[in-house]
Amino acid sequence: MTTTTARTVRVSGSGRAPARRRRVHGRDLVGAALSLPALLLFAFFAIYPGLRVFYLSLFDYSLTAPPEFVGLDNFRFLAEDPRFRQAVLNSVFYTVGTYLPALALALALAVALRRKTRGLGWVRLLYFLPVATSWVAISVVWRLVLHPDGLLNETFHLDVNWLTSSSTARWALVIMGIWKETGFFLILFLAGLARMPEEVHEAALVDGANPWQRFWRVTFPLLKPITAICSVIAVIRGFQAFSPQVVLTGGAFDTEVVNLFVYKTAFESARMGRASAVAVLMFALLIAVTLVQLRVFRRTDT
């Protein structure tokens, strides 16, 4: 993360209290106590369940009956389960299909719309609006948009049954996802571009580089850190998908993503142990993917 710019601007003497070992003052104890409310909530409602997930994944647990130890059976079941495999594939499809185009589009729009002119402000607003909508409410709207006689088909003179076919339902969700998420990353890329020193940009202009070269040689490399963050966020958001799938298809037609699978397994089939096992696997997968992404971006950092 590039904090150098910030540091040069900051008033000297501000920042964080040093962590060097020294006598702990009474004042520091009071200060420590201030973090207790947050930390206690954290400990109870985040850390404890976080650890418990691993524990529960080794049991067959339906909440009213006492948990039954089954060792790695849940994991064995999931390894062979076509439904789980399909859920992971559905999540991957949704994540890649939505966020790759969304990021690319957001980047392109950010470069195009970075000027501070008034008119462009309005255009940017149009892209931001979907971000301010709530997932469930906007899914209800998109249900209508994706209706065989709805906005999408009518505008492009198509006759596709978006939500009642395995070949198109997942694309329908991707289309809605791109619409909703592009603005979010546009904000991030704009913030990143705004922090780029203007001198570098000017220098490239003077050098006579054309816009394309300017982008690739100058802008994009400087955007690496933000792109890294964006892609990590994108993957996490992609796997968090739940509301659109529930409202648009209920998980039918190959749109049952992992979150929905967990919900159904835990709460409709009352198999909480197995659902915990899924959670453990998802946790591992996401950590791995995040680390890979950060490594990839770091290695290509000049």
């Binding site: 009071v30 973090s35 997932w135 996490i236 835990a266």
Partner: protein, 271 residues
């Protein structure tokens, strides 16, 4: 010239994006049979303002709305308190374990909350908080994102000011209230906006924890209403309900756009 072309394209795209929202509002105002009439006509033949009363007449929509507002405001206030206190603590004080605690908090940002929902639900159940506001509010009372944000924000408060206050005899809390607080009002507003938005949108957790009509929040209620009104006759009511549900966050966004954009940028650690 090329720039104008690019801007024109971007504007066209933007209008296409906004078209969906326009479609929603106009559909909500159309008489039932017109919404899916082929070919598509944008403008309603007459404005059925009464459609906006339908959700309130036919479902406990008012209850869902009130619950979402109540839970949203309470969670936002709780977060403001806990995250500001924690951010202040991590930023301006030094004590053993501080850095470890902060790293642990940060680490949870990597992991989507859904991963812990099953044991979290079991915990809420054991506490007897199922179908209660406590189950909706207390687990959401703080957030790693908020703590991170507030620490960043308080980092930039000059130490000299705090030193001066200490010499003046001001206690820890007094310093927070009179010196630090006013200086981080901006980030606090952004945090409040962001927390409210995230909570307004929260679907899976409330679905698990509070699905009886008395405690249902808007996303859960709306999804249930949709599931019960998949036919053409339910469309005016559903569109009206969806538009009504969209209003608070879109309105908040429009009026506090700068703060909102700040909040999103901050959520990625950018400022």
């Amino acid at each position: 010239m090329k720039r104008l072309l690019v801007w024109a394209l971007a504007t066209a795209g933007g209008l296409a994006f906004a078209a969906v929202l326009a479609y929603a509002v106009l559909s909500a105002l159309k008489p039932g049979g017109e919404v899916l009439a082929v070919p598509l006509r944008w403008w309603p033949s007459r404005f059925e303002w009464h459609n906006f009363a339908l959700p309130f007449e036919q479902t406990p929509f008012a209850r869902y709305y009130a619950n979402s507002v109540f839970v949203g405001v309470t969670v936002t206030l709780l977060n403001l308190v806990t995250c500001t206190l924690a951010g202040y603590s991590f930023s301006k004080f030094s004590y053993p374990g501080r850095n470890v605690a902060f790293v642990v908090v940060l680490a949870t940002l990597m992991v989507p909350l859904e991963v812990i929902y099953v044991p979290l639900y079991a915990l809420i159940y054991d506490l007897g908080w199922v179908n209660s506001f406590a189950g909706l509010i207390i687990p959401a009372g703080t957030s790693a994102f908020g703590i991170f944000l507030m620490r960043q924000a308080i980092d930039s408060v000059p130490d000299e000011l705090l030193e001066a206050a200490r010499l003046d005899g001001a206690g820890v809390l007094r310093t927070l209230l009179t010196i630090v607080g006013p200086l981080v009002r901006g980030p606090m507003a952004a945090l409040a906006l962001f927390i409210f938005l995230m909570n307004w949108d929260s679907h899976l957790w409330p679905l698990l924890v509070a699905s009886d009509d008395d405690h249902r929040t808007l996303p859960v209620g709306l999804a249930a209403m949709q599931a019960n009104n998949l036919g053409a006759s339910g469309i005016p009511m559903m569109m009206a309900a969806a538009v009504l549900a969209l209003v608070p966050t879109v309105a908040l966004f429009l009026s506090l756009q700068k703060r909102f954009v700040e909040g999103v940028a901050m959520s990625a650690g950018l400022r």
